[in-house]
Amino acid sequence: MIKKWFSRYSGVRNRGINPQGFHVSQLKFYVVLLPLSALMLLPIIYIFSSAFKPPDELFAFPPRFFVVNPTTQNFTDLFSRLSTSGIPISRYLFNSILITIVTVAASILVSSTAAYSLSKKRFKLKQILFAVNNVALMFVPIAVTIPRFLVIVELNLLNTFWVHVLPVLAMPVGLFLLKQFIDGIPDEVIEAAQIDGASDWRIYWRIILPMIRPALATIAILTFQSAWNNAEISTLYVSDESLRTLAFYLSTLTTTTTGANAVAGQGIAAAAALIMFLPNLVIFIILQGQVMSTMSHSGLK
Protein backbone atom coordinates (compact mmCIF):
# COMPACT_ATOMS: atom_id res chain seq x y z
CA MET A 1 0.00 0.00 0.00
CA ILE A 2 2.68 2.44 1.08
CA LYS A 3 4.80 1.36 -1.82
CA LYS A 4 2.00 2.08 -4.21
CA TRP A 5 1.42 5.51 -2.72
CA PHE A 6 5.11 6.21 -2.87
CA SER A 7 5.44 5.28 -6.50
CA ARG A 8 2.55 7.49 -7.38
CA TYR A 9 4.32 10.56 -6.08
CA SER A 10 7.82 9.70 -7.15
CA GLY A 11 7.36 9.32 -10.90
CA VAL A 12 9.71 11.11 -13.28
CA ARG A 13 6.91 13.31 -14.60
CA ASN A 14 6.67 15.33 -11.42
CA ARG A 15 10.35 16.04 -11.05
CA GLY A 16 12.34 18.96 -12.30
CA ILE A 17 11.15 22.30 -13.65
CA ASN A 18 7.44 23.12 -13.71
CA PRO A 19 6.14 19.74 -12.45
CA GLN A 20 2.51 18.74 -12.84
CA GLY A 21 1.99 17.47 -9.31
CA PHE A 22 3.53 16.61 -6.01
CA HIS A 23 6.71 14.56 -5.78
CA VAL A 24 8.76 13.52 -2.75
CA SER A 25 11.81 15.31 -4.14
CA GLN A 26 9.93 18.58 -3.72
CA LEU A 27 9.77 18.15 0.05
CA LYS A 28 13.17 19.72 0.56
CA PHE A 29 11.98 22.92 -1.10
CA TYR A 30 8.90 23.05 1.13
CA VAL A 31 11.16 22.61 4.15
CA VAL A 32 13.07 25.76 3.16
CA LEU A 33 10.20 27.79 1.72
CA LEU A 34 7.57 27.31 4.43
CA PRO A 35 9.54 28.81 7.36
CA LEU A 36 10.99 31.49 5.11
CA SER A 37 7.60 32.61 3.83
CA ALA A 38 6.27 32.62 7.37
CA LEU A 39 9.10 34.97 8.27
CA MET A 40 8.44 37.15 5.23
CA LEU A 41 4.77 37.28 6.11
CA LEU A 42 5.24 38.31 9.74
CA PRO A 43 5.36 42.08 9.17
CA ILE A 44 2.38 41.87 6.83
CA ILE A 45 0.31 39.85 9.28
CA TYR A 46 1.33 42.42 11.84
CA ILE A 47 -0.17 45.23 9.71
CA PHE A 48 -3.49 43.39 9.57
CA SER A 49 -3.47 42.45 13.21
CA SER A 50 -2.51 45.80 14.69
CA ALA A 51 -4.92 47.80 12.54
CA PHE A 52 -7.76 46.15 14.46
CA LYS A 53 -6.20 46.35 17.92
CA PRO A 54 -7.86 48.44 20.65
CA PRO A 55 -5.49 50.85 22.46
CA ASP A 56 -4.90 48.59 25.46
CA GLU A 57 -3.64 45.85 23.15
CA LEU A 58 -1.44 48.17 21.12
CA PHE A 59 0.44 49.11 24.26
CA ALA A 60 0.11 45.82 26.08
CA PHE A 61 3.10 44.49 27.92
CA PRO A 62 4.35 41.98 27.02
CA PRO A 63 3.30 42.88 23.46
CA ARG A 64 0.93 40.44 21.77
CA PHE A 65 1.35 39.76 18.09
CA PHE A 66 -2.22 38.79 17.26
CA VAL A 67 -5.27 40.83 18.04
CA VAL A 68 -7.60 39.39 20.68
CA ASN A 69 -10.59 41.74 20.65
CA PRO A 70 -10.67 43.17 17.14
CA THR A 71 -12.24 46.60 16.76
CA THR A 72 -12.68 49.04 13.89
CA GLN A 73 -12.11 51.94 16.26
CA ASN A 74 -8.77 52.81 14.60
CA PHE A 75 -10.48 53.32 11.25
CA THR A 76 -13.22 55.54 12.65
CA ASP A 77 -10.54 57.51 14.48
CA LEU A 78 -8.52 57.83 11.30
CA PHE A 79 -11.41 59.20 9.27
CA SER A 80 -12.75 61.53 11.91
CA ARG A 81 -9.34 63.03 12.43
CA LEU A 82 -7.96 66.23 10.99
CA SER A 83 -4.28 66.57 10.19
CA THR A 84 -2.31 69.20 12.15
CA SER A 85 -3.14 71.73 9.44
CA GLY A 86 -6.87 71.04 9.52
CA ILE A 87 -7.22 68.83 6.45
CA PRO A 88 -9.48 65.79 6.89
CA ILE A 89 -7.87 62.43 6.17
CA SER A 90 -10.45 61.65 3.51
CA ARG A 91 -8.94 64.49 1.48
CA TYR A 92 -5.53 62.78 1.44
CA LEU A 93 -7.20 59.52 0.50
CA PHE A 94 -9.14 61.21 -2.30
CA ASN A 95 -5.93 62.82 -3.62
CA SER A 96 -4.14 59.48 -3.57
CA ILE A 97 -6.93 57.70 -5.43
CA LEU A 98 -7.30 60.40 -8.08
CA ILE A 99 -3.54 60.74 -8.61
CA THR A 100 -3.13 56.99 -8.88
CA ILE A 101 -5.95 56.53 -11.39
CA VAL A 102 -4.75 59.37 -13.62
CA THR A 103 -1.13 58.22 -13.41
CA VAL A 104 -1.89 54.60 -14.23
CA ALA A 105 -4.10 55.51 -17.20
CA ALA A 106 -1.65 58.07 -18.57
CA SER A 107 1.31 55.79 -18.07
CA ILE A 108 -0.32 52.93 -19.98
CA LEU A 109 -1.11 55.22 -22.89
CA VAL A 110 2.25 56.98 -22.99
CA SER A 111 4.44 53.88 -22.64
CA SER A 112 2.43 51.66 -24.95
CA THR A 113 2.38 54.15 -27.83
CA ALA A 114 6.13 54.63 -27.46
CA ALA A 115 6.69 50.88 -27.22
CA TYR A 116 4.62 50.28 -30.37
CA SER A 117 6.73 52.77 -32.25
CA LEU A 118 10.03 51.33 -30.98
CA SER A 119 8.97 47.79 -31.73
CA LYS A 120 7.09 47.89 -35.02
CA LYS A 121 7.97 51.11 -36.80
CA ARG A 122 10.99 51.52 -39.03
CA PHE A 123 13.02 54.65 -38.51
CA LYS A 124 16.65 55.61 -38.33
CA LEU A 125 17.07 56.37 -34.64
CA LYS A 126 15.15 53.31 -33.46
CA GLN A 127 18.07 51.23 -32.20
CA ILE A 128 19.77 54.21 -30.58
CA LEU A 129 16.64 55.35 -28.77
CA PHE A 130 15.98 51.87 -27.40
CA ALA A 131 19.60 51.66 -26.24
CA VAL A 132 19.21 55.01 -24.48
CA ASN A 133 16.14 53.70 -22.71
CA ASN A 134 18.06 50.58 -21.65
CA VAL A 135 20.77 52.74 -20.14
CA ALA A 136 18.04 54.63 -18.32
CA LEU A 137 16.93 51.37 -16.69
CA MET A 138 19.72 52.03 -14.22
CA PHE A 139 18.51 55.53 -13.56
CA VAL A 140 18.22 56.17 -9.83
CA PRO A 141 15.70 59.02 -9.47
CA ILE A 142 16.76 59.69 -5.90
CA ALA A 143 20.23 60.70 -7.14
CA VAL A 144 18.94 63.65 -9.13
CA THR A 145 16.29 64.92 -6.75
CA ILE A 146 17.88 68.35 -6.78
CA PRO A 147 18.11 69.04 -10.53
CA ARG A 148 14.64 67.52 -10.83
CA PHE A 149 13.46 70.01 -8.27
CA LEU A 150 14.97 72.83 -10.33
CA VAL A 151 13.25 71.54 -13.49
CA ILE A 152 9.92 71.39 -11.68
CA VAL A 153 10.36 74.94 -10.41
CA GLU A 154 11.19 76.13 -13.95
CA LEU A 155 8.08 74.47 -15.38
CA ASN A 156 5.90 76.06 -12.69
CA LEU A 157 4.76 72.63 -11.57
CA LEU A 158 5.42 73.26 -7.90
CA ASN A 159 2.23 72.87 -5.88
CA THR A 160 0.10 71.56 -8.72
CA PHE A 161 -1.79 68.36 -9.26
CA TRP A 162 0.34 67.45 -12.26
CA VAL A 163 3.59 67.36 -10.32
CA HIS A 164 2.34 64.07 -8.88
CA VAL A 165 1.71 62.60 -12.31
CA LEU A 166 4.19 63.86 -14.89
CA PRO A 167 7.55 62.92 -13.31
CA VAL A 168 6.54 59.25 -12.85
CA LEU A 169 5.20 58.74 -16.38
CA ALA A 170 8.52 58.22 -18.14
CA MET A 171 9.30 54.82 -16.66
CA PRO A 172 12.14 53.08 -18.54
CA VAL A 173 11.31 49.65 -17.08
CA GLY A 174 7.74 49.99 -18.29
CA LEU A 175 8.70 50.92 -21.83
CA PHE A 176 11.28 48.14 -21.88
CA LEU A 177 8.82 45.42 -20.81
CA LEU A 178 6.14 46.62 -23.22
CA LYS A 179 8.55 46.82 -26.15
CA GLN A 180 9.82 43.30 -25.52
CA PHE A 181 6.25 42.05 -25.36
CA ILE A 182 5.18 43.77 -28.59
CA ASP A 183 8.24 42.24 -30.30
CA GLY A 184 6.47 38.92 -29.80
CA ILE A 185 3.58 39.95 -32.07
CA PRO A 186 4.35 38.79 -35.62
CA ASP A 187 4.79 41.56 -38.18
CA GLU A 188 2.38 39.76 -40.51
CA VAL A 189 -0.56 40.69 -38.28
CA ILE A 190 0.22 44.37 -38.73
CA GLU A 191 0.99 44.05 -42.43
CA ALA A 192 -2.35 42.35 -42.98
CA ALA A 193 -4.13 45.20 -41.24
CA GLN A 194 -2.21 47.72 -43.33
CA ILE A 195 -3.28 45.98 -46.52
CA ASP A 196 -6.85 46.20 -45.27
CA GLY A 197 -6.28 49.92 -45.02
CA ALA A 198 -6.22 50.35 -41.28
CA SER A 199 -4.60 53.57 -40.09
CA ASP A 200 -1.69 53.61 -37.64
CA TRP A 201 -3.83 54.69 -34.75
CA ARG A 202 -6.36 52.00 -35.59
CA ILE A 203 -3.67 49.30 -35.67
CA TYR A 204 -2.40 50.47 -32.32
CA TRP A 205 -5.84 50.73 -30.73
CA ARG A 206 -7.58 47.70 -32.24
CA ILE A 207 -4.73 45.23 -32.73
CA ILE A 208 -1.74 46.01 -30.54
CA LEU A 209 -3.51 47.04 -27.34
CA PRO A 210 -5.77 43.97 -27.09
CA MET A 211 -2.81 41.67 -27.77
CA ILE A 212 -0.57 43.10 -25.08
CA ARG A 213 -3.05 43.01 -22.19
CA PRO A 214 -0.68 41.04 -19.91
CA ALA A 215 2.08 43.58 -20.40
CA LEU A 216 -0.36 46.43 -19.81
CA ALA A 217 -1.43 44.79 -16.55
CA THR A 218 2.20 44.66 -15.48
CA ILE A 219 2.79 48.32 -16.28
CA ALA A 220 -0.40 49.14 -14.42
CA ILE A 221 0.90 47.37 -11.32
CA LEU A 222 4.31 49.01 -11.47
CA THR A 223 2.86 52.47 -11.97
CA PHE A 224 0.25 51.84 -9.33
CA GLN A 225 2.94 51.00 -6.81
CA SER A 226 5.05 54.01 -7.63
CA ALA A 227 2.09 56.40 -7.53
CA TRP A 228 0.15 54.99 -4.60
CA ASN A 229 3.16 54.60 -2.29
CA ASN A 230 4.72 57.92 -3.21
CA ALA A 231 5.34 60.22 -0.28
CA GLU A 232 8.44 61.93 -1.66
CA ILE A 233 6.68 64.07 -4.24
CA SER A 234 4.36 65.44 -1.57
CA THR A 235 7.31 66.17 0.70
CA LEU A 236 9.56 67.79 -1.87
CA TYR A 237 7.38 69.44 -4.48
CA VAL A 238 4.10 70.20 -2.74
CA SER A 239 3.65 72.53 0.19
CA ASP A 240 -0.11 72.94 -0.20
CA GLU A 241 -1.48 70.51 2.38
CA SER A 242 -4.70 69.89 0.44
CA LEU A 243 -2.71 68.52 -2.52
CA ARG A 244 -0.70 65.98 -0.58
CA THR A 245 -1.23 62.21 -0.55
CA LEU A 246 -2.16 59.55 1.98
CA ALA A 247 1.34 58.08 1.80
CA PHE A 248 2.67 61.47 2.84
CA TYR A 249 0.23 61.71 5.73
CA LEU A 250 1.26 58.27 6.90
CA SER A 251 4.92 59.29 6.80
CA THR A 252 4.15 62.26 9.06
CA LEU A 253 2.57 59.88 11.57
CA THR A 254 5.67 57.74 11.74
CA THR A 255 8.28 60.48 11.82
CA THR A 256 6.78 62.47 14.67
CA THR A 257 8.54 60.92 17.61
CA THR A 258 7.15 63.28 20.22
CA GLY A 259 5.62 61.25 23.04
CA ALA A 260 1.96 62.24 23.03
CA ASN A 261 1.57 62.15 19.28
CA ALA A 262 3.31 58.80 19.01
CA VAL A 263 0.95 57.20 21.52
CA ALA A 264 -2.25 58.69 20.07
CA GLY A 265 -1.00 58.07 16.56
CA GLN A 266 -0.10 54.39 16.71
CA GLY A 267 -3.59 53.05 16.26
CA ILE A 268 -4.42 55.30 13.34
CA ALA A 269 -0.98 54.76 11.84
CA ALA A 270 -1.66 51.04 11.86
CA ALA A 271 -5.07 51.57 10.25
CA ALA A 272 -3.58 53.88 7.62
CA ALA A 273 -0.79 51.40 6.92
CA LEU A 274 -3.39 48.73 6.21
CA ILE A 275 -5.27 51.05 3.85
CA MET A 276 -1.97 51.74 2.07
CA PHE A 277 -1.04 48.09 1.81
CA LEU A 278 -4.32 46.43 0.89
CA PRO A 279 -4.82 47.84 -2.64
CA ASN A 280 -1.28 46.74 -3.58
CA LEU A 281 -2.05 43.22 -2.51
CA VAL A 282 -5.49 42.98 -4.11
CA ILE A 283 -4.35 44.34 -7.46
CA PHE A 284 -1.34 42.05 -7.56
CA ILE A 285 -3.42 38.98 -6.73
CA ILE A 286 -5.87 39.82 -9.52
CA LEU A 287 -3.20 40.46 -12.12
CA GLN A 288 -0.43 38.04 -11.09
CA GLY A 289 -1.02 35.61 -13.96
CA GLN A 290 -0.58 38.40 -16.50
CA VAL A 291 2.54 39.64 -14.76
CA MET A 292 4.19 36.23 -14.99
CA SER A 293 3.51 35.96 -18.70
CA THR A 294 5.02 39.42 -19.25
CA MET A 295 8.08 38.57 -17.23
CA SER A 296 9.03 35.76 -19.56
CA HIS A 297 9.72 38.49 -22.14
CA SER A 298 11.83 40.50 -19.73
CA GLY A 299 15.27 39.35 -20.85
CA LEU A 300 17.91 42.07 -21.26
CA LYS A 301 20.36 41.24 -24.01
Binding site: F123, F139, I142, A273
Partner: protein, 320 residues
Protein backbone atom coordinates in the same frame (compact mmCIF):
# COMPACT_ATOMS: atom_id res chain seq x y z
CA UNK B 1 -17.66 51.11 -45.09
CA UNK B 2 -15.34 52.69 -42.61
CA UNK B 3 -12.42 50.87 -44.09
CA UNK B 4 -13.32 52.17 -47.50
CA UNK B 5 -13.32 55.75 -46.30
CA UNK B 6 -9.99 55.23 -44.64
CA UNK B 7 -8.59 53.70 -47.77
CA UNK B 8 -9.66 56.68 -49.81
CA UNK B 9 -7.96 58.93 -47.30
CA UNK B 10 -4.83 56.83 -47.62
CA UNK B 11 -4.93 57.07 -51.41
CA UNK B 12 -5.37 60.83 -51.20
CA UNK B 13 -2.41 61.00 -48.85
CA UNK B 14 -0.31 58.97 -51.25
CA UNK B 15 -1.03 61.23 -54.19
CA UNK B 16 -0.31 64.21 -51.98
CA UNK B 17 2.96 62.62 -50.99
CA UNK B 18 3.99 62.31 -54.60
CA UNK B 19 3.30 65.94 -55.39
CA UNK B 20 4.99 67.27 -52.25
CA UNK B 21 8.69 66.87 -52.90
CA UNK B 22 10.38 68.81 -50.15
CA UNK B 23 12.70 66.68 -48.02
CA UNK B 24 10.81 67.44 -44.83
CA UNK B 25 7.57 66.19 -46.30
CA UNK B 26 9.14 63.00 -47.52
CA UNK B 27 10.72 62.42 -44.13
CA UNK B 28 7.41 63.08 -42.41
CA UNK B 29 5.60 60.63 -44.63
CA UNK B 30 8.18 57.94 -43.97
CA UNK B 31 9.06 58.33 -40.32
CA UNK B 32 6.62 60.92 -39.03
CA UNK B 33 4.15 58.56 -37.47
CA UNK B 34 6.92 56.67 -35.65
CA UNK B 35 8.00 59.88 -33.96
CA UNK B 36 4.42 60.92 -33.31
CA UNK B 37 3.83 57.74 -31.33
CA UNK B 38 7.06 58.29 -29.42
CA UNK B 39 6.64 61.99 -28.81
CA UNK B 40 4.95 62.17 -25.41
CA UNK B 41 7.18 59.56 -23.80
CA UNK B 42 10.28 61.12 -25.32
CA UNK B 43 9.32 64.55 -24.09
CA UNK B 44 8.73 63.37 -20.52
CA UNK B 45 11.87 61.25 -20.67
CA UNK B 46 13.93 64.26 -21.69
CA UNK B 47 12.38 66.61 -19.15
CA UNK B 48 12.47 64.35 -16.11
CA UNK B 49 15.45 62.06 -16.80
CA UNK B 50 17.85 63.50 -19.37
CA UNK B 51 17.74 67.13 -18.25
CA UNK B 52 18.16 66.35 -14.52
CA UNK B 53 21.07 63.97 -15.17
CA UNK B 54 22.92 66.39 -17.46
CA UNK B 55 22.25 69.35 -15.20
CA UNK B 56 23.51 67.36 -12.20
CA UNK B 57 26.66 66.83 -14.22
CA UNK B 58 27.05 70.54 -14.98
CA UNK B 59 26.06 71.70 -11.51
CA UNK B 60 28.72 69.47 -10.03
CA UNK B 61 31.35 71.86 -11.41
CA UNK B 62 29.74 74.91 -9.82
CA UNK B 63 29.06 76.53 -6.50
CA UNK B 64 25.30 76.90 -6.15
CA UNK B 65 23.36 77.83 -3.02
CA UNK B 66 19.96 78.32 -4.77
CA UNK B 67 20.00 82.06 -3.92
CA UNK B 68 22.66 83.25 -6.34
CA UNK B 69 23.07 81.78 -9.81
CA UNK B 70 25.64 78.97 -9.96
CA UNK B 71 29.21 79.94 -10.76
CA UNK B 72 31.87 77.71 -12.23
CA UNK B 73 34.49 76.42 -9.80
CA UNK B 74 36.02 73.60 -11.83
CA UNK B 75 36.78 70.39 -10.03
CA UNK B 76 36.70 71.93 -6.55
CA UNK B 77 33.61 69.97 -5.48
CA UNK B 78 35.21 66.67 -6.41
CA UNK B 79 38.50 67.63 -4.78
CA UNK B 80 36.66 68.63 -1.60
CA UNK B 81 34.73 65.37 -1.70
CA UNK B 82 37.93 63.33 -1.88
CA UNK B 83 40.13 65.34 0.45
CA UNK B 84 38.04 67.37 2.90
CA UNK B 85 34.74 65.64 3.44
CA UNK B 86 35.53 63.56 6.52
CA UNK B 87 31.99 62.29 6.89
CA UNK B 88 31.99 61.02 3.33
CA UNK B 89 35.29 59.17 3.61
CA UNK B 90 34.85 57.91 7.16
CA UNK B 91 31.19 56.94 7.16
CA UNK B 92 29.23 57.41 3.95
CA UNK B 93 31.52 55.62 1.51
CA UNK B 94 32.36 52.61 3.73
CA UNK B 95 28.69 52.33 4.75
CA UNK B 96 27.51 52.45 1.15
CA UNK B 97 30.03 49.85 0.03
CA UNK B 98 29.24 47.55 2.95
CA UNK B 99 25.51 47.92 2.35
CA UNK B 100 25.77 47.50 -1.42
CA UNK B 101 28.09 44.50 -1.30
CA UNK B 102 25.91 42.57 1.14
CA UNK B 103 22.44 43.61 0.05
CA UNK B 104 23.11 43.70 -3.72
CA UNK B 105 24.68 40.29 -4.45
CA UNK B 106 23.03 38.82 -1.33
CA UNK B 107 19.53 39.84 -2.36
CA UNK B 108 20.21 38.84 -5.95
CA UNK B 109 21.50 35.37 -5.05
CA UNK B 110 18.60 34.88 -2.66
CA UNK B 111 16.14 35.90 -5.38
CA UNK B 112 17.70 33.44 -7.82
CA UNK B 113 17.79 30.53 -5.38
CA UNK B 114 14.19 31.12 -4.34
CA UNK B 115 13.08 31.44 -7.96
CA UNK B 116 14.90 28.19 -8.77
CA UNK B 117 13.18 26.39 -5.90
CA UNK B 118 9.76 27.79 -6.81
CA UNK B 119 10.18 26.68 -10.41
CA UNK B 120 10.35 23.08 -9.20
CA UNK B 121 6.99 23.18 -7.47
CA UNK B 122 3.61 22.61 -9.08
CA UNK B 123 1.74 25.64 -10.27
CA UNK B 124 -0.58 26.40 -7.36
CA UNK B 125 1.91 26.25 -4.48
CA UNK B 126 4.38 28.10 -6.69
CA UNK B 127 1.97 30.98 -7.23
CA UNK B 128 1.17 31.20 -3.53
CA UNK B 129 4.83 31.27 -2.51
CA UNK B 130 5.72 33.75 -5.24
CA UNK B 131 2.96 36.04 -4.00
CA UNK B 132 4.16 35.81 -0.40
CA UNK B 133 7.79 36.44 -1.31
CA UNK B 134 6.91 39.32 -3.62
CA UNK B 135 4.48 41.00 -1.23
CA UNK B 136 7.12 42.83 0.87
CA UNK B 137 8.46 44.63 -2.18
CA UNK B 138 5.11 46.13 -3.10
CA UNK B 139 4.87 48.07 0.10
CA UNK B 140 8.47 48.97 0.76
CA UNK B 141 8.53 52.45 2.12
CA UNK B 142 6.06 54.33 4.18
CA UNK B 143 3.60 51.65 5.19
CA UNK B 144 6.38 49.39 6.38
CA UNK B 145 8.09 52.06 8.43
CA UNK B 146 5.15 51.78 10.84
CA UNK B 147 5.79 48.07 11.27
CA UNK B 148 9.55 48.19 11.65
CA UNK B 149 9.35 50.99 14.15
CA UNK B 150 7.14 48.92 16.44
CA UNK B 151 9.04 45.67 15.96
CA UNK B 152 12.35 47.32 16.79
CA UNK B 153 10.90 49.83 19.23
CA UNK B 154 13.39 51.02 21.83
CA UNK B 155 11.31 50.44 24.96
CA UNK B 156 10.20 47.18 26.48
CA UNK B 157 6.95 47.09 24.48
CA UNK B 158 9.01 46.60 21.31
CA UNK B 159 8.59 43.07 19.97
CA UNK B 160 12.28 42.30 19.59
CA UNK B 161 13.14 43.67 23.02
CA UNK B 162 10.27 41.84 24.66
CA UNK B 163 11.17 38.61 22.88
CA UNK B 164 14.86 38.74 23.73
CA UNK B 165 14.18 39.78 27.32
CA UNK B 166 11.76 36.91 27.63
CA UNK B 167 14.49 34.55 26.50
CA UNK B 168 16.85 36.07 29.01
CA UNK B 169 19.29 37.27 26.35
CA UNK B 170 18.78 40.90 27.29
CA UNK B 171 18.37 42.46 30.71
CA UNK B 172 17.19 45.85 29.61
CA UNK B 173 15.64 47.17 26.39
CA UNK B 174 17.99 48.18 23.57
CA UNK B 175 17.41 51.29 21.45
CA UNK B 176 17.77 49.26 18.25
CA UNK B 177 17.13 52.03 15.76
CA UNK B 178 19.17 54.67 17.58
CA UNK B 179 22.13 52.41 18.35
CA UNK B 180 24.92 52.92 15.80
CA UNK B 181 26.12 49.33 16.15
CA UNK B 182 22.74 47.81 15.18
CA UNK B 183 21.23 50.29 12.73
CA UNK B 184 23.20 49.12 9.69
CA UNK B 185 22.40 45.48 10.36
CA UNK B 186 18.68 46.20 10.69
CA UNK B 187 18.77 48.24 7.48
CA UNK B 188 20.25 45.26 5.66
CA UNK B 189 17.67 42.84 7.02
CA UNK B 190 14.80 45.15 6.08
CA UNK B 191 16.16 45.68 2.57
CA UNK B 192 16.84 41.98 1.99
CA UNK B 193 13.33 41.24 3.18
CA UNK B 194 11.90 43.41 0.44
CA UNK B 195 14.34 42.41 -2.30
CA UNK B 196 12.17 39.80 -4.08
CA UNK B 197 10.89 42.37 -6.54
CA UNK B 198 10.37 42.50 -10.26
CA UNK B 199 13.82 40.97 -10.90
CA UNK B 200 12.79 37.93 -8.88
CA UNK B 201 9.62 37.52 -10.96
CA UNK B 202 11.66 37.89 -14.16
CA UNK B 203 14.09 35.18 -13.07
CA UNK B 204 11.25 32.87 -12.06
CA UNK B 205 9.65 33.31 -15.47
CA UNK B 206 13.05 32.81 -17.10
CA UNK B 207 13.63 29.46 -15.39
CA UNK B 208 10.16 28.26 -16.32
CA UNK B 209 10.77 29.12 -19.98
CA UNK B 210 13.80 26.86 -20.38
CA UNK B 211 12.90 23.95 -22.58
CA UNK B 212 12.80 20.59 -20.73
CA UNK B 213 14.62 18.94 -23.65
CA UNK B 214 17.80 20.73 -22.62
CA UNK B 215 17.76 19.01 -19.25
CA UNK B 216 16.89 15.66 -20.80
CA UNK B 217 19.73 15.95 -23.29
CA UNK B 218 22.13 16.80 -20.49
CA UNK B 219 21.04 13.78 -18.46
CA UNK B 220 21.61 11.54 -21.45
CA UNK B 221 25.05 13.09 -21.89
CA UNK B 222 25.85 12.06 -18.35
CA UNK B 223 25.15 15.16 -16.29
CA UNK B 224 24.04 13.98 -12.89
CA UNK B 225 24.41 16.72 -10.29
CA UNK B 226 22.01 19.54 -9.55
CA UNK B 227 24.90 22.01 -9.37
CA UNK B 228 26.07 21.14 -12.84
CA UNK B 229 22.54 21.61 -14.05
CA UNK B 230 22.33 25.10 -12.53
CA UNK B 231 25.66 26.32 -13.83
CA UNK B 232 25.72 24.68 -17.25
CA UNK B 233 22.07 24.79 -18.25
CA UNK B 234 19.82 26.96 -16.09
CA UNK B 235 21.94 30.11 -15.83
CA UNK B 236 23.33 30.10 -19.39
CA UNK B 237 19.84 29.56 -20.83
CA UNK B 238 18.37 32.53 -19.02
CA UNK B 239 21.21 35.05 -19.24
CA UNK B 240 18.93 37.87 -20.42
CA UNK B 241 16.66 37.44 -17.38
CA UNK B 242 19.69 37.15 -15.11
CA UNK B 243 20.96 40.45 -16.45
CA UNK B 244 17.59 42.14 -16.07
CA UNK B 245 17.44 40.85 -12.49
CA UNK B 246 20.95 42.10 -11.82
CA UNK B 247 20.22 45.59 -13.10
CA UNK B 248 17.06 45.73 -10.99
CA UNK B 249 19.02 44.52 -7.94
CA UNK B 250 21.73 47.14 -8.40
CA UNK B 251 19.30 49.99 -8.89
CA UNK B 252 17.16 48.75 -5.98
CA UNK B 253 20.17 48.57 -3.68
CA UNK B 254 21.28 52.13 -4.30
CA UNK B 255 17.69 53.35 -4.27
CA UNK B 256 17.01 51.68 -0.92
CA UNK B 257 19.42 54.06 0.76
CA UNK B 258 16.68 56.14 2.32
CA UNK B 259 15.75 53.30 4.66
CA UNK B 260 18.24 54.37 7.35
CA UNK B 261 16.68 57.80 7.67
CA UNK B 262 13.18 56.32 7.65
CA UNK B 263 14.04 53.89 10.42
CA UNK B 264 16.01 56.16 12.70
CA UNK B 265 13.79 59.14 11.96
CA UNK B 266 16.65 61.58 11.47
CA UNK B 267 19.11 62.75 8.83
CA UNK B 268 22.01 62.48 9.59
CA UNK B 269 21.40 59.07 11.14
CA UNK B 270 22.72 58.54 14.70
CA UNK B 271 26.52 58.97 14.58
CA UNK B 272 26.30 58.50 10.80
CA UNK B 273 25.88 54.76 11.39
CA UNK B 274 23.31 54.29 8.65
CA UNK B 275 24.39 57.19 6.45
CA UNK B 276 24.46 56.12 2.82
CA UNK B 277 25.41 58.13 -0.22
CA UNK B 278 21.75 58.92 -0.95
CA UNK B 279 21.31 60.47 2.49
CA UNK B 280 24.51 62.45 2.01
CA UNK B 281 23.05 64.00 -1.14
CA UNK B 282 19.89 64.95 0.70
CA UNK B 283 21.85 66.25 3.67
CA UNK B 284 23.86 68.66 1.48
CA UNK B 285 21.13 69.46 -1.03
CA UNK B 286 18.07 70.01 1.11
CA UNK B 287 19.43 70.68 4.58
CA UNK B 288 22.54 72.74 3.79
CA UNK B 289 21.53 74.01 0.33
CA UNK B 290 24.96 73.31 -1.15
CA UNK B 291 23.46 72.19 -4.43
CA UNK B 292 26.70 72.14 -6.42
CA UNK B 293 28.36 69.87 -3.92
CA UNK B 294 25.29 67.65 -3.64
CA UNK B 295 25.28 67.37 -7.45
CA UNK B 296 28.90 66.18 -7.36
CA UNK B 297 27.89 63.45 -4.90
CA UNK B 298 24.96 62.52 -7.22
CA UNK B 299 27.35 62.14 -10.13
CA UNK B 300 29.53 59.83 -8.02
CA UNK B 301 26.44 57.77 -7.18
CA UNK B 302 25.36 57.51 -10.83
CA UNK B 303 28.89 56.45 -11.77
CA UNK B 304 28.82 53.75 -9.11
CA UNK B 305 25.54 52.37 -10.50
CA UNK B 306 26.99 52.51 -14.01
CA UNK B 307 30.13 50.67 -12.90
CA UNK B 308 28.24 47.84 -11.23
CA UNK B 309 25.84 47.50 -14.16
CA UNK B 310 28.81 47.23 -16.54
CA UNK B 311 30.17 44.48 -14.32
CA UNK B 312 26.84 42.63 -14.45
CA UNK B 313 26.69 43.06 -18.23
CA UNK B 314 30.15 41.49 -18.51
CA UNK B 315 28.93 38.49 -16.55
CA UNK B 316 25.61 37.91 -18.26
CA UNK B 317 25.84 39.49 -21.70
CA UNK B 318 24.36 37.23 -24.38
CA UNK B 319 26.51 36.40 -27.34
CA UNK B 320 23.77 37.24 -29.79
Amino acid sequence: MIYQAEMEAEVNKRSFRQTGNSRLERWLAKEGSAYAFLAVYALLFIIFIVVPVTSAFFLSFTFFDTIQPPHFIGLSNYIALLTQDDTFMKFVLPNTIQFAVIVGPGGYALAFILAWMLAQLPRIPRTIFALILYSPSMTAGVAMAVVWKTLFSGDQTGYLNSFLMGLGVLNEPVQWLQAPQYLMFIMMIVTLWSSMGIGFLAMLAGILEISPELYEAATIDGMNSRWQEIFYITIPSMKPQMLFGAVMAIVGTFQAGAIGVTLSGSNPTPQYAGQLIVNHIEDYGFLRYEMGYAAAVSVVLLLMVLFFTRLATRLFASDT
